[in-house]
């Protein structure tokens, strides 16, 4: 008389014993069972969109689970609140299960498809990317002796544009294909509503606008009016704030480069003064990119391992390290740009930036793409 309990992974076969031996179907099956249990309970519905989206469904196919997994912001509310969390025999640990499903979805959307392997070995991926970046920037370097702060004497502007143009196009294409695969899979069956839940359409802002605000404010890390927990009954804003530092720091650095490119096009050639727009944007952004990733790395050390699957943690660790290396070498380059070892620093910095770009489609960076897509789908379903 225990059909479900025998179908559920037992504590012996469950993840905390043998994480690496889970096959895709096992993970999906565990996620499906968890959503079935959650859907019969629904006490977590006010916590986040995952449970609200779940309630619109009666069955959970891989597509639904992929969508829900990418909607999950990986806080801890539902785990600590759950009476069915381990050691209960139902063994419900939604954050970690969805974390695993998420990484598997990153793999399955990767383009080219064989690059899925990159997600399984984040450090190998990082080192390969660093090696490629180092080779390219070393070859591109014309001299290692320069006394003024003119980067283009080391690597000519056109060469830089060509390198980043080619890499940038490839990265953009890989991300676009991944996003397309995600939308195709997660939207396969279109927005769903279960027949027994009937509610009138809700007027409100457009889904696209809501989803953008969700991303820019990280609304669902404090949607109940308080910050989500990252340990039992511990509500701290750090994860959200540090993510903001990282996200906006990166955005400012990107803006700095864009402004510099515009200046260059109009004939105003670098180096720019410390008070110029590109340098100010880059410096503030760079500081954000130091504080954010460094803080997140420190938080991760103290984070409850029950919340995140090891595979996702490793991706985060690699990505944050690369961001930190980028910002630290960038700021060093700025501070020491008139010193004799500027060319060496420049080549190192460019190698790291190249490696960062190359790993964008094959690492933690993609979480933003798929989370954004999932949030848009959520807001669309909500507006129906």
């Amino acid at each position: 008389m225990t059909q479900l309990t025998s179908a559920l992974p037992t504590r012996e076969s469950g993840h905390h014993r043998t994480p690496s031996r889970w096959t895709l179907t096992e993970v999906m099956r565990k996620a499906e069972h968890e959503m079935v249990v959650c859907n019969a309970c629904r006490y977590c519905e006010a916590y986040c969109p995952v449970f609200q989206a779940m309630e619109q469904r009666v069955t959970f196919q891989s597509a639904d689970l992929t969508y829900l997994a990418n909607l999950c912001h990986n806080c801890g509310e539902c785990l600590y609140a759950c009476q069915y969390a381990p050691p209960h025999e139902f063994n419900i640990d939604v954050p970690r299960t969805l974390s695993r499903v998420r990484v598997e979805s990153y793999e399955s959307f990767a383009w080219p498809s064989f690059a899925a392997v990159a997600f399984r070995r984040p450090w190998v991926t990082t080192f390969v990317a660093l090696a490629v970046g180092a080779v390219i920037s070393f070859i591109a370097a014309r001299t290692f002796q320069a006394r003024d702060a003119d980067f283009y004497k080391v690597i000519p502007h056109d060469v830089m544009v060509m390198i980043f143009g080619v890499v940038g196009l490839f990265v953009a294409a890989a991300i676009a294909v991944g996003h397309r695969r995600f939308t195709t899979i997660a939207d396969l069956k279109g927005p769903r509503r279960s027949s027994h839940v009937a509610s009138p359409p809700r007027p409100g802002p457009s889904p696209r606008r809501s989803a953008t605000l969700d991303v820019l404010t990280l609304k669902h890390l404090h949607a109940t009016g308080e910050d989500c927990v990252d340990a039992e009954e511990k509500r701290r804003p750090w994860r959200r704030w540090l993510h903001h530092c990282t996200f906006y720091g990166f955005a400012l650095c990107f803006a700095s480069t864009t402004v510099a490119a515009i200046y260059h096009a109009f004939g105003w050639i670098a180096p720019y003064a410390y008070t110029s727009a590109p340098v100010v944007l880059g410096t503030v952004g760079g500081l954000g990119l130091v504080i954010g990733p460094a803080g997140l790395l420190m938080l991760d050390q103290r984070r409850d391992p029950a919340l995140t699957h090891a595979s996702e943690r490793a991706l985060g660790f690699a990505f944050l390290t690369m961001l930190l290396l980028t910002s630290v070498t960038g700021l060093l380059l700025l501070a020491l740009r008139e010193r004799p070892y500027m060319p060496t620093l420049l080549v190192i910095h460019l190698a790291i930036v190249l490696a960062l770009f190359i790993t964008f489609p094959y690492g933690k960076f993609v979480h933003g793409i798929y989370r954004g897509g999932a949030l848009l789908k959520f807001r669309r379903e909500e507006s129906l």
């Binding site: 008389m1 309970c41 006010a46 609140a81 009476q83 027949s195």
Partner: protein
């Protein structure tokens, strides 16, 4: 109760209505002085609880439509307990886990010490005052068997396996005045495949009013459409407990699929009634005859799950008085049902200071809160959420009064 809409409750729930609800479900088996104390104290409860980090759902979207009378905890009961424990720890309260009270030393109505068993051995803990908050005896299978005999072995306990009633039994043996119906427990019909303990909310099944329920002989035994399910699910535990082997089967056809809250256990599916009968291990002929008679007795009507509609049977014993539709659209789905015990009513009598009443008079320094004294107010029956209200209000009173006693204020 609340006199005006709040952030977590709609409309109003006046004191009189709350009391009327309580008198109705308990059949008068309630201490009205304590009951009105509790009802009045409940008005401001959400605010008082939120000071300890307890959070409530902003609005209820669930299926029970209880937004007027019930505030729901954000994240449920365990989230509530997490907040309460964290608040206690912040106040410097020492919490000892895996500790079982196995003995109480009480002399002339005065508590002296408790014998506590921990993984490190048994120790005696003395105290100038004590608050007993040790629950009922619903997970004590032997005690249940004393009352219900062999049937008790087929009961499923919805909550923790730790409600063994040890402290309740110790108090009754020490001369505490009992209160509440000792022969009753709150039992709902839940999915028979639920774990023996701690299956909680997800094992409930809402399909009953949409079909028929038969026992293991294949016979119907009660009006499945008597009233809205949230008002009736609590009597079905007893109904199933009275059936042979304490098992019954809720049977629906394709028309009802997807019309009730998703169930955690998959339905048993069959293409025909006979097939279903053999899948369930009940006499297929009887089941087919039962359903044939039921189908023939269904009167024409307009089905509406949201109202007490006019779809009913005529000439059946028992009739189904609402939502009666012919079971004729395969595939047929069945869910097995067993009694799921939520709580027991027997407890210790207390006064308005939550102080335990002993046979020889008031106890000196013994207070009680929660299920162990809930029988003072809820001698039988159930009003949604009243257990939490009793627990919280009398928890506050017992804490305050025992502190006052300890400090010699009273």
């Amino acid at each position: 109760m609340h006199a005006a809409p709040t952030d977590v409750l709609t409309d109003t729930y006046p004191e009189d209505e709350f009391m009327a609800d309580l008198l109705r479900v308990t059949g008068g088996l309630t201490d009205q002085t304590l009951a009105s104390m509790m009802i009045r104290a409940s008005a401001d409860l959400p605010r008082r609880m939120s000071r300890f980090g307890v959070r409530f759902q902003p609005s209820l979207r669930g299926t029970l439509h209880l937004g007027r009378t019930n505030a729901f905890f954000l994240g449920g009961g365990k989230a509530l307990m997490n907040s309460a424990y964290a608040a206690a720890e912040r106040l410097g309260v020492r919490i000892v886990y895996e500790a079982d009270v196995v003995g109480l030393c009480i002399r002339d109505g005065r508590f002296e010490s408790a014998e506590v068993q921990t993984p490190h051995g048994t120790e005696s803990i003395a105290g100038r005052t004590v608050v007993l908050a040790a629950g009922g005896f619903e997970s004590n299978l032997d005690w249940l068997a004393e009352i219900w005999g062999e049937a008790a072995s087929n009961f499923i306990i919805r909550g923790t396996p730790y409600n063994t009633g040890t402290v309740l039994r110790l108090m009754l043996d020490a001369g505490a005045e009992p209160v509440g119906d000792p022969s009753q427990c709150h039992a709902v019909a839940i999915d028979a495949r639920a774990p023996k303990f701690d299956g909680g909310i997800v094992t409930r099944l809402d399909s009953v009013p949409l079909g028929i329920v038969v026992n293991r002989h294949g016979d119907r035994f009660y009006d499945e459409g008597e009233d809205y399910w949230p008002k009736r699910y609590a009597i079905w535990g007893r109904l199933v407990a009275q059936q042979p082997d304490q098992i019954a089967y809720s049977i629906i056809d394709a028309k009802a699929v997807g019309r009730f809250m998703p169930s955690v256990f998959p339905p048993i599916v069959a293409g025909s009634i006979r097939e279903l009968g053999s899948a369930l291990g009940i006499p297929a002929g009887t089941l087919a005859a039962t359903i044939e008679r039921f189908n023939a007795a269904v009167r024409p009507g307009t089905f509406d799950h949201q109202t007490l509609d006019d779809c009913r049977t005529e000439g059946l014993v028992p009739n189904k008085t609402h939502w009666a539709q012919r079971l004729d659209a395969p595939p047929f789905h069945a869910y097995p049902l067993r009694p799921g015990i939520t709580f027991t009513y027997l407890g210790v009598k207390v006064d308005e200071h939550a102080r335990v009443v002993m046979k020889g008079g008031l106890a000196d320094n013994i207070f009680a809160a929660g299920e162990i004294m809930a029988g003072n107010i809820l001698g039988r029956g159930y009003v949604a959420g009243v257990g939490m209200t009793i627990g919280t209000v009398f928890g506050e009173i017992a804490g305050r009064e025992s502190a006052a006693f300890r400090l010699g204020v009273r």
